[in-house]
C-alpha cells in the first residue's frame, strides 16, 4: 500500500504510480528507464517538500490521525532498554486504552503513562480506539503515586480522540477521575513531561497532561474539542471542520504560540509514520534532554514553577 493515502496526498500518489508503471515498462520491454525513473523520483521529492512544508491545519490533523502513525507502544518498544508493564486501577478494571509501566531509557528510570489506540480491528476494539475510561485515569494516578514514592520521574504520551463517552464511564465518574489527576499531577513531587504524539482531544488528553514541560510532535493537534466537534456545535456543519481547525488554532505550532507547548518535535517529511526509527530517536533525545534539565530543580521549586506555568495561561484584561 502507498505511504500516501490521504486525500491531499493525491499528487504524490500520481507520481508514485508513474514511477511504478515506468519501472514495469522497463522490465517488459527491456528499455533502459533509469533516467526517466530518476527524474520522476526527483519530481516526487520536490513535490513532497512543497506539499508538506505548506500543510494546512486540517491536513496536520489528518496526519495526527494517520492510520500508520506510530502509537505509544511503537515508541516504547523502540526507545526503552527495560520495560515492565503494570496493570489495573485496583478498583474496577484494567484499561487497555492506557498503557503504563516502568522503563529504563539509557540510564534514565521512568514511569511511562501512555494512551494507545490499537492497530487492526481486534486491537482497536481491545484498546477502545484510545478512549480511556475512568479506570485508565485511575491506573495512571496509582502508578504516578508509586513513581513519586520511589522518586521516579513520569513521562506521559498523549494520543487520544477523547475520554470514552459511555454510560458506565459516567457512572464510575469519568469527570472525577480526570479532575483528580489534574489535582494530583499538579503537586506530584517528581518531574513530569507530557508529550503529544498524535491527537490531544480535550479533557481526555489533559487527564494525563499536567506537568512541568509539554512537547508536541509537529503534526499533532491538541484542543478543547476536535475540529469536527466544534464545527458541528458552533457551525452546525461537521464538514466545516477545516475551518474550525483554523478558528480554534489546534496545531503544535499554535500551542507553542500560545505558550502552552514548550517544544515542537520535528517529524520526518510527511509525518512520523514515514520513518518510525527516526521519530523514535527524536522522541528519545527529547525525553533525555528534558529530564536532565528538570531533575536539577528542587522538588518544591519545581511544583511552584508548574503551578505558575498554568497560572500564566489564558488571555484577559483587567480594568
Amino acid at each position: 500500500m502507498s505511504n500516501y493515502i490521504l486525500e491531499f496526498e493525491a499528487p504524490l500518489r500520481e507520481i508514485e504510480d508513474k514511477i511504478d508503471s515506468m519501472k514495469s515498462t522497463g522490465i517488459k520491454t527491456g528499455m533502459d528507464v533509469t533516467e526517466a525513473v530518476q527524474k520522476l523520483e526527483e519530481q516526487l521529492t520536490n513535490e513532497k517538500k512543497i506539499l508538506y512544508e505548506n500543510l494546512s491545519r486540517w491536513e496536520r490533523v489528518q496526519l495526527a490521525r494517520h492510520p500508520k502513525r506510530p502509537y505509544s507502544s511503537d515508541y516504547i518498544s523502540r526507545i526503552t532498554d527495560y520495560w515492565f508493564e503494570l496493570h489495573g486501577d485496583r478498583y474496577f478494571s484494567d484499561d487497555p486504552a492506557m498503557i503504563c509501566g516502568i522503563a529504563v531509557i539509557d540510564n534514565l528510570k521512568l514511569m511511562i503513562i501512555s494512551q494507545e489506540k490499537g492497530r487492526g480491528t481486534k486491537s482497536k476494539l481491545f484498546r477502545n480506539f484510545g478512549m480511556a475510561r475512568p479506570e485508565g485515569y485511575r491506573k495512571a494516578l496509582r502508578l504516578m503515586k508509586l513513581a513519586e514514592k520511589y522518586k521516579i520521574p513520569v513521562l506521559t504520551l498523549i494520543d487520544t480522540p477523547g475520554a470514552y463517552p459511555g454510560l458506565g464511564a459516567e457512572e464510575r465518574g469519568q469527570a472525577e477521575a480526570i479532575a483528580r489527576n489534574l489535582f494530583e499531577m499538579s503537586k506530584l513531587r517528581v518531574p513530569i513531561i507530557n508529550i503529544v504524539i498524535g491527537e490531544g482531544a480535550s479533557g481526555g488528553a489533559l487527564g494525563i497532561g499536567v506537568g512541568d514541560k509539554m512537547l508536541c510532535f509537529e503534526n499533532t493537534w491538541y484542543s478543547v474539542i476536535s475540529p469536527e466537534g466544534c464545527a458541528t456545535i458552533l457551525f452546525r456543519d461537521a464538514s466545516r471542520a477545516p475551518e474550525a481547525a483554523d478558528s480554534m488554532m489546534v496545531t503544535a505550532k499554535d500551542l507553542k504560540y500560545f505558550g502552552i507547548a514548550d517544544t515542537i518535535l520535528p517529524e520526518p517529511l510527511g509525518g512520523t509514520h514515514q520513518d518510525y526509527n527516526q521519530s523514535a530517536d527524536t522522541l528519545k533525545n527529547a525525553i533525555l534532554d528534558s529530564f536532565l534539565e528538570l531533575n536539577k530543580i528542587d522538588p518544591d521549586k519545581r511544583i511552584e514553577n508548574r503551578i505558575e506555568k498554568y497560572d500564566k495561561m489564558g488571555k484577559w484584561s483587567d480594568g
Binding site: Y82, E85, H87, G88, D89, R90, F92, K139, L146, I152
Partner: protein, 295 residues
Amino acid sequence: MAEWFRRKSEKIKTLDKREIAEGMWLKCPQCQEVVYRKMLEENHFICTNCTHHFRITSDNYIQLLMDDGKFEEIAANVQSVDPLNFKATKNYTDQIKTAQEKTGNKDAVKTLIGNINGIKAVLAIMDFSFIGGSMGSVVGEKISQAIDRAAKDHLPLVIITASGGARMQEGAYSLMQMAKISSKLARYSDLGGLYITVITDPTTGGTTASFAMLGDIILAEPNALIGFAGARVIKQTIGEELPEGFQRSEFLLEKGFIDHIVGRKELKTTLSDLFSFFNFGASEKEELSEVDDNE
C-alpha cells in the same frame, strides 16, 4: 523403573493407580496429562504439556529464588500454643503436630533473609500444605517480624501467598493477624519500603483481604485461584453460574487488581529487576534485564 518402560508409558498412560498414589507420577489437574514427577521437578513443577503451575512448598520457592539456595531464617522458633485450647473433630494441637511432621515446618509460613540475584531481600513464603496455609498468631507474628527486619535494614520485602485464609482454630486472634500485618506494612511503606506480593494458587479469604492486596507491586502466578469468598458460597448466595475463569489470575488482571502475571521461570529475574528499578540494592544500573518482546 527401566528407561524403556518410562518412555512408553508417557505416551500410552497405562499406569497403575499405585504408582500415581506413590507420587512418582502426577496427573496435571488442568490438562489431565500424567507427567513424571522428576521431569516436573526439573521444570519447577510447571506442567511440561500445558504450563499449569502445580502448587509447591516454601522449600521449593527457596530453591527457585534464593542464590545458591542460601538464606537466614527469621523468627525460626516461633510456634503455636493453641491459645483457645481448641477442640473439634481433631484437636488443634494434634493438627499442628501432624502438619509439622508432614511438612518439616513449624507453621504455614517461612520467613527469611537472603540474596536474589545478588540483591538482599526479606521474604515470607506461605505453604498451603501446612493446614491449608491458614493464618494464625504464628503466621502473623513471623510475617510481622519479617516486615520489621525489612524496615530496619531497609530491604525490599516479598510475600509469596498461598493460603485459605484466617485459621478458625484461633478465633478472633487469627482475624486480628490481618490488621497486625497490614499495620506493619503501612509503617514499612511510610519508611519508603518496597513490598512485592507474589500471589500463588490458592489465595483466598483473610489473606487476600489483607497483605496479598497491599503490595506496591502485585504479581501473580498464571491461573492461580485468588478471591475473598469461596466460589461455592458465592454460587449459593447469588443462585447463578459463575463466569468462565472467575477468580483466576487472568480474571483479576482484567479487573484491575494485579499488576502483572509472571510465570515461575521468570519470577527470580522479575523480582531482582524490580528491586533494582525501585532503587534497592543495585549499585549498578545494568543489572536490569533486556526488554522482552514476548510479553
